[in-house]
């Protein structure tokens, strides 16, 4: 009896499809397949019909088809089989078990579950969204009621409680909304240039008062800061830190500590960095059981100390999701009564370095620094020194005025005033407007402050402050702020997008009878390095053009209304001249008359374009470029 017959006797009668395989060198070949297997693949080799990956696994010595308990499914002609492999003598036997019904049923259940989950998410999100509007009305109306004069104490107490409760409800709604957006993939990380200084400042303005209210000691520790400006989603990044910090504050009893530490370290890829941050507290901590669930939505630890504190159990889930959306990781360590420590690592791209440009523009300029806090003043002065700027320090208002007076008799001048928010014995809101008046509208006055600018902006802008530099002070921030007021920055700003406005080597003829208009045009056009000849009427323009060699002028700018000969006649005369470029020279009309018909008349007379008066630099330059560029091309 040969091998095949033997196999047929043993396996041939089995109703399930069976393959007998021989394995060698990690590959399989079919030794025998029974009738049921033949029927399944119309007499072909069944092994050829199963996925390549599975064949490899069947050849594997360990014969592990599945990872863990997961069955391996094989799809054949609309049927689903579960493969059951085992070792028999020297062969690998593989049985096919038809599980189509079971599989389909499971798949349906799964689909239903996915649909139901989606429906839940969208229901939650719609619902919270719709509740938010009337909720806003309740909160707003409560505020309005609280602001009314002479409300009875009892009523104001009730209103106060409504305010607190509706505030909680609103934050709950917002969190549910955020969570459902995360689940449905609707939150996108929107990167922009973020100044670390701004980010930290904004975080601190929220956290510090919270910590103070909880009688906690809050501290910020900065390690190496390899880059101060990052490409990041500032709103979401702030949300991450505020979530962590507000939790730390909430779960730390009075007298405890909360600490935020941060480093920006260079990453291996040039231009990238990663942020390493830690939020540590000395609060109530978490049990080791809960530690595993801290990032799961709607989970809160069941204990009395926690139950007293408002929360949805969503904050940490949202935080983790946001960190992961940014490509980062978050980890937590905690022990009951010993505090909690969250550690974050998030990668970022660094922004393009602009600092060297800033330093070039600021180098050697003199700043008046007004600050009564000697230690802080020294730090600021050191930083200005690093920017190669000169600093005069004043610690009182009178000293500042003396320095200003001294300066007005010297041949140097102050580039800007940097001032602290408070100076002893002087009302800054009265003092600063006086300085503004003295130094003129273009003199930059900048305020250094730890407080929220939004709260102060109104008052201080009125007092003549141009801008605000947040503390803690960062060098790039300081240099960028100061740079904005340099003539270089103004020029760069004006020329932004129009760096091509340079017509070096181009010569134009300007025909304009009004002397002041000629002056204005000369000034305007001169800025783009044009050479300009002027004439006072059309006749002179024709003459001048006739006398010059061909291609001497690149363009003629022509007023329409002129004595002796107007612009239209002059244009016709030029076009009729018998010179080489009389037909080609671009002639552009300049007039306030922008009637369709008259614009058409000037084109009919042979002009190429029309620029409206009063001259708008942008329009003049783009028209010039149109023709000068074209001619060159």
């Amino acid at each position: 009896m040969d091998n095949k017959e033997k196999l047929s006797q043993i396996w041939g009668g089995i109703a399930l499809p069976v393959m007998i395989l021989a394995a060698a060198d990690g590959r399989c070949r079919t030794v025998y397949q029974n009738g049921a297997a033949d029927a399944l693949c119309s007499g072909q080799n069944l092994l050829d019909r199963i996925p390549q990956e599975l064949c490899g696994r069947l050849a594997d010595d360990t014969l592990s088809l599945s990872e863990g308990d997961k069955p391996f499914f094989c799809f054949l002609d609309g049927q689903v089989f579960s493969l059951i492999p085992f070792q028999w003598e020297s062969y690998r036997v593989c049985m096919f078990h038809d599980v189509t019904d079971y599989y389909n049923q499971n798949q349906r259940t799964l689909n239903d579950a996915i649909m139901a989950n989606k429906a839940k998410t969208s229901f939650l999100s719609e619902m919270s969204h719709d509740i938010r509007t009337p909720m806003g009305a309740i909160i707003g109306m409560t505020d309005i009621a609280l602001m009314q004069p002479d409300i009875p104490v009892r009523v104001s107490e009730c209103l106060g409680k409504i305010k607190v409760a509706s505030g909680h409800m609103m934050s709950l709604l917002n969190e549910v909304l955020d969570m459902s957006r995360i689940e449905s993939g609707r939150i996108l990380i929107q990167e922009e240039d973020v100044d670390l200084a701004d980010l930290l400042h904004e975080i601190l303005t929220v956290t510090r008062p919270q910590a103070d209210a909880g009688q906690l000691h809050f501290s910020l520790k900065l390690g190496q800061i390899a880059e101060e400006r990052l490409r990041a989603d500032s709103v979401r990044l702030k949300q991450i830190f505020l979530n962590l910090l507000s939790n730390a504050v909430k779960f730390t009893p009075p007298g405890g500590e909360v600490e935020l530490s941060m480093e920006i370290l260079p990453a291996e890829i040039p231009g990238s960095v990663f942020m390493k941050a830690r939020v540590r507290d000395t609060g109530i901590g978490m049990s080791s059981e809960f530690l595993g669930k801290v990032f799961v939505a709607f989970e809160r630890e069941e204990k009395s100390t926690v139950n007293k504190i408002q929360g949805t159990g969503l904050g940490m889930a949202i935080t983790k999701n946001l960190v992961e959306l940014m490509g980062g990781t978050i980890a937590v360590e905690s022990k009951p009564r010993a505090g909690t420590c969250f550690t974050l690592e998030i990668p970022f791209q660094a922004c393009k370095d602009e600092e060297s440009l800033h330093i070039r523009a600021l180098r050697g300029r003199r700043v008046l620094l007004l600050d009564a806090d000697a230690a802080r003043a020294k730090m600021t002065a050191d930083m200005l020194d690093q920017l190669e700027m000169k600093t005069d320090l004043a610690s009182t208002a009178a000293e500042a005025v003396e320095l200003i007076n001294d300066m007005s008799f010297s041949d140097d001048e102050y580039f800007a005033l940097l001032t602290a928010e408070k100076i002893p014995d002087v009302e800054m809101l009265l003092f600063l407007p006086q300085i503004r008046q003295r130094m003129g509208i273009h003199f930059p006055i900048l305020l250094l402050s730890e407080n929220d600018w939004v709260q102060m902006e109104y008052v201080y802008t009125r007092a003549g402050i141009d801008g605000f530099i947040p503390l803690p002070l960062f060098r790039t921030r300081l240099s960028a702020q100061l740079y904005a007021f340099t003539p270089e920055a103004r020029l760069a700003h004006e020329a932004s997008g129009q760096s091509h406005w340079n017509f070096q080597g181009k010569r134009i003829l300007l025909a304009e009878d009004n002397e002041i208009n000629r002056e204005i045009a000369l000034e305007l056009l001169g800025m783009a390095n044009l050479q300009i000849d002027t004439v006072e009427n059309g006749r002179m323009a024709v003459e001048r053009f006739r006398q010059t060699s061909p291609d001497y002028y690149d363009m003629i700018l022509m007023d329409i209304q002129m004595p002796v000969m107007n612009g239209l006649e002059a244009t016709r005369a030029i076009r009729n001249l018998n010179c080489a470029d009389a037909q080609d020279i671009p002639i552009v009309a300049m007039t306030a008359n922008a009637f369709v018909e008259d614009v058409k008349n000037s084109l009919d007379a042979g002009m190429n374009a029309h620029i409206a008066k009063p001259l708008d630099m942008e329009q003049v330059y783009s028209t010039l470029e149109l023709f000068l560029g074209r001619k060159k091309g």
Binding site: T133, M141, I144, A592, F595, V596
Partner: protein, 617 residues
Amino acid sequence: MKDYQTQYIANLTRAAQLGEIRAELSPDAEHFWEERQKNRAAIVRLVKENTSLLRANLFPVLDNIASASREEIKDLEEFALALIPGGRQLDVMLSYTIHNTLIAYARQWELRDLLIRELYHTAMAVYYLHTMIQDIAPERYRWKMQLLFGEAASYIKLYDEIEDPETRGYIHRSMANLALGYSSSPPATGKRKMETIRRSLQILTDPVFQAKTPSLPWDLYIYKSHQERTTSLSFLRSGGADAQTTREVMESAEYVRDRQKRDSERTGQPPSLRWSVVYESSQYHCGILTLEAFLKRLEEFYLSRDPSDYSPDGSYANLFLPAIYSQYVSQNRQYLQAKKEMISHMYRMMLRYVRNAPAQQMSVSLMRSIMDTFASFIEYPGGLQQKDLLLQMVVCRNPETFVYLQMTACVSRMLLERTIQEMPQLLLGVLGYDTVEEITAARQELADLAYGCGMFHDIGQLNFAKMTTMAGRIWFKEEQEIFRLHTKVGAAILARCESTQLYADAAAGHHCYFSGDGGYPDGYDRTEHPNQPIVDIVSIAASFNRLLDNNIDYTKEPLSLPQALEHIRLKAGSRFSPDLVRLLLEMEPELEEYLRDGRMQAYRLAFQYLKNEDPLP
């Protein structure tokens, strides 16, 4: 003001009067037509006179503005203001041109008070231009307006140095008007608007500022700012608002209502309907009223209006209310079934109101209300169709445009039939018909399509009715450019409703060149529109009719039939399809026959519509 300036304004007013449609004074269409022709000739004389007044007297001064005398500057200022008296838009573009030039003058001679004032007035003129096209080209003027208001407002820094109380007033007004640049969507702009109002109100309510310039109407400024804060609120419901904003809106709403009540008690007049509606709408947007309740309130307001009241409040009730009502229903379709009768009723009444309106009452802002209605027009089976209301609006705003459209429709249909007969292959692809047999079999359907496209291709003109009917001078280049937006306006309106959506391509593409190399609007791609052959037909028919009689620029001399055909012929292959041009030229006898009575027939139809109290089906 100088004599020419007074004369110019008088001419503008006269031209507007001559444009009034007074069908009730005519016994028959022939008489009506004769009257219109007579008036039109008079208007042309005024337009020519006004144009030369400006050419001879104004532009030379503007050209050399830097050397103008103080007296000339003062006259120019007065003239520019008189062109938009109390917000009535007699000639916004000219006013803008003058104010803008005065800015250059003020900068040149460093006249700060004049500069601030002119920045404000220029910005206001830009605002009026902005409102005309804000739905279709929201960014065209917005930045300019913000730049001007912003610069004027920035002088708040030098407040103490500026002594003139009037100039200080302009600073405050500019600051408040920065809010005008923000619409309610997207939510972010709604938010910016609220921040802008907050900043401005902070200063307006500051006792220090009030004490500095006691002569300014602080109350009025504050009141207006609160009013502004209660409009354009849809961002509140789209998640754009924080609790503070909602609270501020509600405060402002109460502030405005209290003030309305007080004024009403003092004068014995009922409170303004407009601000009552705005109040209710703020309650809805803040979450106090449900939409159901809010719509109910709107209905009550609507039913209590006076249908013959042409005061601002009356116009608001009769024209603007239907627009916002249908806007809310169209955004919340679940109410459609319950509210459709009400909506149809409003549309019908609206038409009646517009038909009976005295011409000088039809301000630009009311035209906007009409356009707003079409922007949210609701059509349903068995109800009023947008196409019928659109046509009637055209008839009662500008019968000549109706005549032009009617004739374009007829010529389009004639040309279509000719095409089916001679070159049906040109029409392959139209309405999905891919063979010559199918095209021939669908003759009637295609003829109807060509007729409808001709009838509605220029419907976007409604948005610019003021420019087309009462200009009183020839156009500026800038106006020509704005007017080109009529293609986009028309296409947007037509595409919204089933009864008109097939005509949208014709509205969008009838100014595009056949060669693909010219015309407007930018971005119109001929290859994207399967019905393009019909658009090409309408293009020719429209240009042809405009050459025979220009319904927009009255100063254009009408051409004879052979002249018009010659004009068309010259543009075969570039502007027009050479095949269609050939067919049109072959149709000369047929066209001659049609033109013998075609214009008068169209006029008779217009007249009949105008005389009929209820012309809607």
